[in-house]
């Protein structure tokens, strides 16, 4: 069974981040253990955000590849995850 690792870059007070959080929670229910989601607070883990060149949150990386900066559509996000499975 393949897995997908999603890094969800956020910061406190970020307006769009809760929407991404909600989408990922719904997708986690759908994909179960195959989907691993890590919430990365860019104000704490600055080095990780810098590695990806992230300039704004929310941002989403899938299996080490930055896929979205800004709030993606749920279908877009799902497609990006399915491509890695």
């Amino acid at each position: 069974m393949e897995e997908v690792y999603v890094e969800e870059f956020m910061s406190p007070g970020c307006v769009g981040c809760p929407a991404v959080r909600e989408m990922l929670e719904e997708l986690s229910d759908e994909f179960g253990e195959k989907l691993i989601v890590e919430e990365v607070d860019i104000t704490v883990d600055t080095a990780r955000a810098a590695q990806y060149g992230i300039m704004s949150v929310p941002a989403v990386a899938v299996n080490g590849i930055l896929k979205f900066m800004g709030v993606p559509g749920k279908e877009e996000l799902k497609k990006a995850i399915l491509e890695e499975l």
């Binding site: 393949e2 897995e3 997908v4 690792y5 890094e7 691993i36 890590e38 860019i42 104000t43 883990d45 600055t46 080095a47 990780r48 955000a49 810098a50 590695q51 990806y52 060149g53 992230i54 300039m55 704004s56 299996n63 080490g64 590849i65 930055l66 896929k67 979205f68 900066m69 800004g70 890695e84």
Partner: protein, 594 residues
């Protein structure tokens, strides 16, 4: 399909910094049982030469293709371990450094019990194992780096960085929110510890920036949006109208003489003087061009007047001017937005805003300036009389848990400077008191400056008044202050009280940080990548910070940082082509609708 990865974990003791705060043996044992982990080792100092050799040997002997080092902050040593792995053929992206030291090290704000540290470290390692085993190799693409730099802020730090880069051959845009460059330094008159005339030592820089063929000055301008990545930032700047054709304006000032509208000048006179609705900020302003303050101009308010237009000998007035959007391509960005002075009104015990004779140090600086609102005469605001007794209060809004916890760094020195100026240049007979917590005079030649101030007969009181009361008849100010050095309560009746207020981030820093995607620290200043080792880099590659935008600092430190920021920008852009992960370019193009 993912081939099964061979992951090695290296747990660093960091001397006792990690080993003193959790059971390393337990962490090693737990790590050995994580799926895909084929090798676990511990090392006293993984970053040492021996530590790195041990990692390289393990990579070869165990045929590892992924490495996790559990040690310290990645902003400190990730590159060290990526280079170490690269030497034995592992792509940098497949070497990760995770910070477990934050939970174990004495002095860390995140320190927890050894049991908790073990639990948290285990979770972090498990997560890192999953992350690195699923990580794909990211193709790198080569992008051309624009040979231009955007500098945000036209104060001494921004000018220094801009001039350094322009002299190296880069095209530099300096964006300044106000109508003139020069920043706060231009308004200080004298600077410590040499008591040089500030405009005299600043003017060579402002004048050079004005005529430099590779520098474009955009005053009255603000950055509205930034997209892109290092080498290719697309910046949108909005320039608000001066209502003056700057090609025609000669700065003669005839329009100003005729303007009937006087308003308090809160910017260049810090509220201590007036200007007209059409004005030139000060004599040495660059550019020396008039500007109309549309909020107060009678024509914009009531549709009448236009006297300036009638009087201008070169027809430079243009009431039809509109805001202009300017697009700039920049390879790197330097943030040098400086600072503001804390408004002490919320510290109601000092009566600022209620008592006319309580002012701030920046206001005092403007009063002491021979080109300031009182032409260098120190006159108290309530009655225009010369004060006989001046009391300065340190750390107002600084080193204070209710406002700003940090030390503002420069207040002790500018209080000493102003005390010297009052005694030596303005009012030799005036008594000057400085009420302080500690005098912090740590820069080069600062201690001698402090001693010289004491020798001038300035009174130093190690304590601060808890309250100021105004006498209704004289508008004098009564202060009670406990001086532990003489052991009793002093009562002082002052003519003028000067508050040494905190240095705070300049207005608009929060919004600019959002536009740039750059983090800010607890005080609201732009945050450096690492406080000691990477003090001018930010979390966004290609964006650098310098001067008081990064934290309170004096002019020499601002210059040093400006030069460092310019050097970093040059270091990246001189490559001409920069290798970046493919996704950075792709995502940026998507965001821009490309």
């Amino acid at each position: 399909m993912n081939k099964e990865k061979r992951i090695g974990i290296f747990i660093c003791h960091c001397g006792k910094n990690v080993a003193g705060g959790l059971n390393i043996e337990s962490l090693v044992e737990i790590s050995k049982h994580i799926q895909r982990v084929v090798y676990v080792a511990e090392n006293r100092f993984s970053c040492s030469e021996d530590g790195q050799v041990a990692i390289q040997k393990a990579i070869q002997d165990q045929q590892l293709d992924r490495v996790i080092v559990a040690a310290c902050d990645p902003s400190l040593h990730l590159l060290t371990f990526q280079r170490c792995g690269e030497k034995t053929g592992i792509e940098p992206q497949f070497v990760d450094l995770i910070d477990i030291r934050k939970w174990t090290m004495h002095g860390s704000p995140h320190k927890v019990s050894p049991e908790k540290a073990l639990e948290k470290s285990t979770k972090l390692i498990e997560l890192a194992v999953k992350r690195i085993s699923l990580k794909r190799l990211i193709p790198l693409v080569e992008v051309k780096a624009e040979q231009g730099v955007l500098v945000i802020g036209g104060g001494v730090a921004g000018l220094e960085a801009g001039l350094d880069l322009a002299d190296k051959g880069y095209d530099v845009h300096i964006v300044e929110r106000l109508p003139t460059i020069g920043g706060k330094m231009a308004l200080l008159y004298k600077v410590f510890p040499t008591n040089d005339c500030a405009p005299c030592i600043l003017a060579p820089k402002t004048a050079y920036a004005h005529i430099h063929p590779r520098i474009t000055l955009l005053t009255n301008s603000e950055v509205k949006s930034v997209e892109g990545y290092i080498g290719n930032f697309d910046v949108e700047v909005v320039q608000t109208p001066r209502y003056i054709d700057t090609d025609k304006c000669t700065g003669c000032g005839e329009c100003i003489e005729k303007c009937p509208c006087r308003v308090v000048d809160n910017v260049y006179s810090a509220g201590m003087g007036e200007r007209k609705a059409i004005y030139i900020p000060y004599d040495q302003a660059i550019p020396k061009k008039a500007v109309i303050d549309a909020q107060n101009c009678l024509y914009f308010k009531k549709g009448v007047c236009r006297l300036c237009e009638k009087e201008c000998p070169t027809d430079a007035i243009n009431f039809e001017q509109q805001s202009k959007t300017i697009d700039i391509k920049a390879g790197a960005i330097i943030v040098a937005t400086g600072f503001d002075e804390y408004n002490p009104a919320p510290k109601s015990e000092y009566g600022y805003g209620r008592y006319g004779n309580v002012i701030t140090q920046f206001q005092l600086a403007r009063l002491l300036d021979i080109d300031g609102p009182t032409a260098g005469k120190l006159l108290r605001p309530s009655d225009g009389q010369e004060p006989k007794r001046v009391v300065m209060i340190q750390c107002v809004g600084s080193r204070d848990q209710k406002t700003n916890e940090y030390c503002s760094n420069i207040c002790c020195m500018y209080a000493l400077k102003h005390a010297q100026m009052i005694r030596e240049m303005v009012l030799p007979d005036a008594e000057v008191y400085i009420c302080y917590i500690d005098m912090r005079t740590t820069g080069k030649d600062f201690e001698a400056y402090y001693r010289r101030t004491r020798e001038l007969g300035i009174h130093f009181i190690r304590g601060r008044p808890s309250e100021i009361v105004e006498k209704s008849n004289t508008k004098n100010l009564l202060l009670k202050v406990e001086d532990p050095e003489i052991g009793h309560l002093l009562e002082i009746e002052a003519d003028l009280v000067v508050l040494s207020c905190a240095t705070i981030p300049s207005a608009g820093s929060e919004q600019l940080a959002q536009i740039l995607g750059v983090n800010r620290d607890e005080g609201g200043f732009f945050k450096e990548m690492h406080p000691k080792l990477r003090p001018v880099e930010t979390n966004v590659r290609g964006i650098y910070i310098c001067g008081a935008a990064q934290g309170p600092k004096d002019i020499p430190e601002s210059i040093i940082q400006a030069k460092a920021a310019a050097s970093f920008a040059d270091g990246e852009l001189r490559k001409v082509k920069i290798k970046l992960p493919e996704y950075i370019v792709k995502v940026s193009q998507l965001n821009q609708g490309g």
